[in-house]
């Protein structure tokens, strides 16, 4: 048997039991990789259940800096007997299997082609600790300790992490280090350390940070000036509003009075959540809500109202897999058409697609400017993978000179100097009209907001010509939006090659890696990352400038491709689907294989 040998380039997976405190031990492992200066990506794979069921945590270490998921497990740490049969199977040939050897492994689970590393974790815990809770917690530290020795990781780094973690509970530092040492000593005595997989310290992460997308969005909402957040709990978006509240409680309390410069309302449902957000924005406060697919479904009617009545609102959709309840704890990018055309009638909405926590922070903050400027809903589209997993990211940045762009709002003075105010008059010819905030002027500037058709002065009308004029103005605003919203990013400059690739959001990580894989096969392509919908001229040019475009996305129906066909009116044959929708983040290997396959098919035809 040949064992896998690799330095700084492999995948470790932990198989745990939900609710046993393994998360913090696993995170510690990931943090140690980061502090050793190595790029990594981590994925929580968890069930839609609170306690007792299997849960996995997968970490990829990549010296080359690839941050997408990679298939195949090189080292499995199995701490859950329940999932053992499938865990044994999922290890790559030549890989390693770390397990609790307190009980003997059933012969049925012994494979010839992998290396078994048994550590009597429970036995050690029973011997060392009396308190059942401590036994559970320290068992996690024992396997992390063992790994640090097996993989030759810098133990000082772990000590530093523990010291940081228990800064306020210093008494816990020594026992945690001790538990790790129990694991280290055991494997040192019983196995040859390190194994074929090793980590060496490098200086590859620079000033990067590690953060999950939901926290970054929550913080972005604080910086972007949101004062009202309304939400209804749903995985995977719950932690976004929690983060907003946490940061706001830290950063937005009035020093003198102790009162809050923000309000968070846990609404009775998503209908109410977006209703609150719309009401607050109508009244001049920046407000947002966050939800996932089922919530967006419920918010449809209100989204149509905000679109037609032209009320700013920000909604962050942390997508999970559908349809219906689908796989609620698995990732997808499958709310795209729902979000783009939410609500009845001719309505369409602006979508923003961040790819990493830094962009989550920046684009969430920017969304409030965009919503105010365009007076329409802005939907920030992330997914479970970006929202709930920690990602390596460039540090967050904020320009202190930045002013909030409140868009076109008339104040009392403007109104005073005006003969007649018309809420829906296109004064500037860009489709965007001027609003007034309730309470501004005693006799001028009030208007009636409604979802029914109205004229330029906000007066109800069913006059067909007036209605058409208004609907066309909304389209003009749509065109204006194209150049204001975040522009796509080009990789591999210009239109040099016949073929191009389009991707967005979390598919970016794997798509960029796939391009490298293809290059190794002698295939080069141009690439574009979408950051927003509607598509700007740049997207149109990119599509028109290539013979064929591969559109990579994580849903069954090629939803982004549909938008491209629909909005750019391009020949569907030109846009080739690269789809993954099994609920796991797409991998580079899969993308490159698919592209290769589809190229062959094309040639045969």
């Amino acid at each position: 048997m040949r064992s896998i040998a690799a330095v700084n380039d492999f995948v470790v997976r932990f198989a745990n039991v939900n609710g046993t405190g393994s998360a913090s031990a696993n995170n510690m492992f990931a943090k140690a990789i980061f502090r050793m200066g190595l790029p990594f990506s981590a994925k929580n794979i968890f069930p839609s259940n609170i306690q007792g069921l299997p849960t996995w945590y997968e970490v990829r270490i990549s010296e080359k800096g690839y941050l997408g998921r990679r298939d195949g497990i090189d080292l499995m740490v199995c701490v859950n007997p329940q999932s053992l049969p499938q865990d044994v199977k999922s290890v790559r040939s030549g890989g390693y299997f770390v397990y609790d050897s307190t009980k003997i492994l059933h012969p049925e689970f012994v494979r010839e082609d992998i290396t078994y590393i048994g550590i009597p974790m429970m036995e050690i815990c029973l011997r060392e600790y009396t308190d059942p809770r401590l036994r559970q917690l320290f068992k996690n530290m024992i396997y992390v300790g063992a790994l640090s020795m097996l993989l030759d990781m810098d133990f000082e780094v772990f000590k530093g992490i523990i010291a940081d973690e228990f800064k306020k509970k210093e008494k816990l530092i020594a026992p945690n280090i001790n538990a790790m040492e129990l694991g280290r000593n055991y494997v040192k005595e019983h196995y040859e350390c390190p194994i074929g997989l090793r980590m060496e310290t490098r200086d590859l992460v620079g000033d990067s940070i590690v953060l999950d997308g939901n926290s970054a969005c929550g913080l972005g909402a604080v910086y972007g000036g949101a004062t009202v957040a309304a939400w209804y709990p749903i995985t995977p978006s719950t932690s976004l509003v929690n983060a907003f509240e946490k940061y706001a409680n830290r950063l937005r309390i009035d020093k003198e009075t102790g009162k809050k410069k923000f309000a968070v309302v846990q609404a009775e449902d998503e209908l109410a959540a977006i209703g609150v957000a719309i009401g607050a924005n109508w009244n001049g406060a920046r407000s947002f809500t966050a939800t996932s697919g089922p919530g967006v479904s419920l918010m449809n009617e209100f989204l149509g109202l905000a679109y037609f009545a032209e009320i700013p609102v920000v909604l962050t959709d942390v997508q999970r897999s559908g349809p219906s309840t689908g796989m609620p704890t698995r990732t997808q990018q499958s709310d795209i058409t729902l979000a783009a055309y939410a609500s009845h009638g001719d309505s369409k909405h602006i979508l923003i697609f961040p790819s990493n926590p830094k962009e989550c922070f920046e684009l969430q903050a920017l969304s409030f400017d965009l919503a105010d400027r365009l007076q329409t809903p802005i939907l920030v589209m992330i997914d479970l993978d970006l929202g709930m997993n920690e990602h390596l990211s460039p540090p967050l940045k904020w320009d202190d000179n930045r002013k909030y762009d409140l868009g076109k709002v008339y104040d009392a003075e403007d109104l005073e100097n005006m003969a007649q105010y018309g809420r829906y008059l296109d004064t500037d010819g860009d489709g965007i009209t001027y609003r007034t905030i309730p309470g501004t002027h005693p006799t001028k500037g009030s208007f009636f907001t409604r979802g029914t058709s109205r004229d330029e002065y906000a007066r109800y009308t069913e006059d067909g010509a007036v209605y058409v004029r208004n609907m066309n103005r909304l389209l003009k605003k749509w065109d204006t939006a194209k150049e204001i919203i975040p522009q796509p990013e080009l990789y591999q400059d210009g239109n040099q090659h016949k073929e191009g690739v389009i991707f967005f959001g979390t598919t970016t990580y794997s798509a960029l890696e796939a391009l490298d894989l293809l290059k190794e096969e002698g295939i080069e392509m141009d690439a574009m990352r979408l950051l927003s919908f509607p598509f700007s001229k740049k997207v149109e040019d990119f599509v028109n400038g290539h013979e064929r475009i591969y559109v990579i996305e994580q849903n069954r129906d090629a939803q982004m491709r549909s938008l491209l066909i629909n909005e750019l009116e391009v020949d569907p044959k030109k846009l080739i689907r690269i789809l993954n929708f099994d609920g796991m983040p797409i991998t580079a290997a899969y993308i490159s294989e698919q592209i290769l396959e589809k190229m062959v098919v094309e040639k045969v035809e």
């Binding site: 009401g279 009636f448 409604r450």
Partner: protein
């Protein structure tokens, strides 16, 4: 009915303390059916706001969808209005109120809007003690969709569609149960009762429900309907008569029947209660619940101020938000700046 409103104003029209005439509190000409109870309520709102000398731009009127929800167009033409979607006015009002605690919020809804599609939002607005005047124009039917029974139609009541066989939802009783801090019922045809109730509701610091029986002349004013003008006039009973006394003004009035009591509201205004029903104390929740129940059994329509807790905490008090309206806060109040961000970056390494 005429659809053109004369712009001429008589120079000697009476003015309120702000110098506005009653015309300044009117809205567009109503397009509801002639005789619709809702128009009388619009009139009462106009009168109440004129008499209270509310600056029109300091009041925001919000509604859902329905004939009743159209009425904000027909009163207070100088106030910002928001006709939202069916049944969802409470959430929009909640957001508006959170954005600016300094304005007066008047929510207008129908019984279909509130007691069916909007029930969820209604009960939660009550629960949060949102500082809003919540007027239900209750006609026991859906006017705008042509006369279907609503959830407040009494069992056995006859409408165009036949006899209603389902129990009615009693909004005041429900609101009491949910902890509403101001609960009243009135009748669109009784302006002398309705106007002071609206004024008191405006002065109340918290959720103020006024359920106004408001006959739909087109679909539900027939014999056998328990929300018709005739039926209501025959079955109405009054719990109390309310006089609203603005802050700093004193009035004295003698009432023959029953005893009187005075209540000071949050803004310093006063309510003088003249009880017609024996032993009526609108601060006694249990008694109010009992009395409402009793009148239902007796097929009476009990009107007046049924319950009030004049000393309450509204949603802003509960959330502990700053006194300054949130919509007036700017970068310097809201943005923690790059320094704080650097610290956050450091904590994430």
């Amino acid at each position: 009915m005429t659809y053109v409103k004369p712009s001429f104003r008589h120079p000697e029209l009476p003015k309120n303390d702000l110098g506005f005439t009653k015309k300044d509190y009117e809205g567009a000409i109503s397009t509801l059916c002639g005789g619709c109870g809702h128009d009388s309520i619009s009139g009462a709102i106009t009168q109440a706001c004129f008499e209270m000398a509310i600056a029109p731009h300091r009041l925001a009127k919000l509604s859902g969808i329905g004939c009743s929800s159209k009425t904000p167009t027909y009163f207070l033409g100088n106030s910002h209005g928001f006709n939202s979607v069916h049944g969802r006015m409470p959430s929009v009002a909640t957001g508006a109120n959170l954005a600016n605690r300094d304005l007066i919020y008047m929510g207008v809804s129908g019984d279909g809007d509130t007691a069916s599609i909007g029930m969820g939002q209604f009960v939660h607005a009550v629960r949060r003690n949102l500082n809003v005047v919540y007027i239900v124009m209750n006609n026991g039917c859906y006017g705008l969709t042509k006369g279907q029974d609503s959830a407040t139609a009494d069992v056995g009541s006859v409408s165009k569609n036949g006899i209603n066989s389902f129990n009615a939802i009693d909004l005041p009783a429900l609101a009491l149960e949910l902890g509403a801090t101001f609960v009243a019922r009135s009748f669109s045809g009784d302006r002398t009762q309705l106007i002071p109730l609206i004024k008191a509701a405006v002065s109340h610091h918290g959720f103020a429900l006024i359920d106004v029986i408001s006959p739909c002349v087109t679909f539900n004013n027939n014999t056998g309907s328990t929300k018709s003008y005739d039926y209501v006039r025959e079955h109405i009973t009054t719990a109390d008569v309310v006089d609203y006394v603005p802050p700093g003004e004193e009035i004295t009035m003698e009432y023959a029947e029953g005893s009187s009591a005075e209540l000071t509201l949050h803004d310093g205004s006063m309510l003088q209660l003249h009880k017609l029903a024996p032993n009526w104390d609108p601060r006694d929740k249990l008694a109010a619940m009992q009395r409402i129940y009793l009148s239902r059994v007796n097929k009476e329509i009990l009107t007046g101020l049924l319950y009030i807790d004049p000393d309450t905490q509204d949603l802003h008090d509960i959330l502990n938000t700053v006194d300054k309206p949130l919509n007036e806060l700017r970068e310097e109040d809201l943005c923690p700046g790059s320094g704080a961000l650097e610290e956050i970056n450091r904590s994430l390494r």
